[in-house]
Symmetry: C2
Subunit: 300 residues, 2 copies
DNA sequence: ACCCCAAAGGTAGTTTTCCTACTTTTTTCT
DNA sequence: AGAAAAAAGTAGGAAAACTACCTTTGGGGT
């Protein structure tokens, strides 16, 4: 079994795209049509699709089985599900011609597809290892710059869930100093989408050299991950367009959510009670519009 | 036409859940079955579903039309698509009994459903108004605390896209001082999921009093939005469970993405060229593993 | 209390859709 | 070039989805 045990590998459009070149000639014609406008196809009947692709009906059936579907009915269902996120295939670049509605759709779609992709590619075993490490930590430090700095800060705010002091130094010097002071029972978490950011790699190496556990969150195999006890790859959909926003942040934030929640669940009943009480009081403060409140869902 | 013109309202499970109580008795039996295990249902045939629900086949058809589907075929497709994200209905609370796999699925699902919901409820006209205001700003300040503070900081980092100086004061005093110094051509953006955070409301009032344009991003109609030129409601799925993470951040971040991108698109060619150049050089720095680089996709 | 009317639900039959057995065409290898 | 195997098509049969019609149930009104 691979990491797709979550059952999310039924991204049919992806499968079709990958297998397209290995298909029979006529089947490929069908594949073209499906890929070109999956939205139309789910509404089509078998005969219509056959006509559209210029092939016979049994060919369409054969195409279905070739890409791993039970039959046409199954294809439709899988396709529909696939489309919900993997609208990625229809992701055209954002241009100045787009009106606001198109822009909204594109950006949401892009982020949704990306999250889905990240989920399907996430290695559960690696996450488990990270949770093990974090759960035993006496102190946790998160290292990240730029957009990843945002993620680090968010993680640090999740301190109540970790039940352990958390830090997120914001500049390279602080980061270096912090890393140097870590020791055996501490954990350092590096966050960098490229996995190449030099300071982060250095900081993790220093931390590791001092005996601290190290976790790396990156979008791809990279130098940073080579220096970590637990490398965590959070895949991102490639994106080279001018105006496409940074989608990696979101998946990184979700991974942080998962880690903090998983660690929290490992704690004992007392810890849970504290969180319950904290949440209740927070809600209370909000209800009162308490003027000294600086809280705004600071506790996940 | 309401704001669901994006065509994303086909969150069928949501629709069924909402209409369930208004359905005929037998139809409701069908609804129960569908809601209980939508995954099974997409694989079922009309007759099977009828048997499972203990009703006749035409009743199932009537159920289909009642909830707005063309027929059973259509139901299946819509259901399949709906399941991809709107697994929301199957969102059971996160408990200590969950294994890691379940946790990962739940947290991703929750965030995906939430983004989807936010998109379907987003008011395009309000977004347009916000973009108009931001595009004409001489300076933009983002106000947020806690999790929303993260969002504010992220927005501030998007400064290159806005093409306008951006700030995100991190404490209440700085925020107040900043608000007091804003004037007619400036814009203040308040971010608060509850929309009740007192300091933010105050800061926006001050900013507005000084003639600055004001935009509010909140999860619901609230005091903060009452004091804004442009109120922007970014709906969040309700969530009272102990361990469920804050999902609002993600949708707020996406809205910030939309706003910054939309503003950027309004700028002239020179601006676009600068961004292109900036991105290229950033990539170059990364490639070199330049030791002075503090960049990690800081430019959205 | 009874009857009537309307709405809900079921039965049976029709049509559409999907799939399979078999034939023809194309391709590939000796 | 010819034979065997793979690919594509034709036609017919099974099954699924839908519709027209009938029965039942339940809620007023006299």
């Amino acid at each position: 079994m691979d990491q797709t045990a979550t059952g999310l590998d039924d991204n049919l459009l992806e499968v079709i795209l990958r297998q397209k070149d290995d298909l029979r000639k006529s089947d490929r014609r069908v594949a073209e049509v499906v890929l070109a406008s999956p939205g139309e196809v789910v509404a089509m009947t078998l005969a219509q699709l056959a006509k559209e692709a210029g092939v016979s009906e049994p060919t369409v059936i054969r195409f279905c089985t070739a890409i791993g579907c039970e039959g046409y009915r199954d294809l439709r269902v899988k396709l529909a599900r696939s489309m919900a996120f993997a609208r990625s295939t229809s992701h055209t670049a954002i241009t100045s011609d787009d009106d606001l509605g198109a822009l909204i759709t594109k950006i949401f779609d892009y982020n949704l597809s990306n999250l889905n992709w990240a989920q399907s590619k996430l290695d559960e075993a690696a996450v488990r290892a990270a949770v093990d490490l974090l759960a035993g930590a006496r102190r946790i430090e998160f290292f990240g710059f730029g957009a990843s700095g945002i993620v680090a800060r968010d993680a640090q705010q999740k301190f109540p869930l970790f039940g352990t002091p958390c830090g997120a130094p914001s500049d390279a010097h602080q980061m270096y100093m912090t890393a140097e002071m870590l020791c055996a029972e501490d954990v350092a978490v590096g966050i960098s989408n490229t996995g190449h950011t030099r300071e982060i790699v250095d900081a993790l190496q220093v931390a590791r050299g001092n005996g601290a556990g190290t976790i790396g969150i990156a979008g791809q195999p990279s130098p940073m991950l080579d220096h970590c006890d637990v490398p965590l790859v959070v895949e991102t959909l490639e994106n080279t367009d001018l105006f496409t926003p940074t989608v990696s942040r979101l998946s990184h934030l979700v991974v942080i959510d998962i880690l903090s929640t998983a660690v929290s669940l490992r704690r004992d009943e007392t810890h849970h009670q504290r969180i319950t009480r904290m949440k209740a009081r927070l809600a209370q403060r909000r209800g009162k519009l308490n003027p000294t409140s600086t809280s705004d869902s600071s506790a996940g």
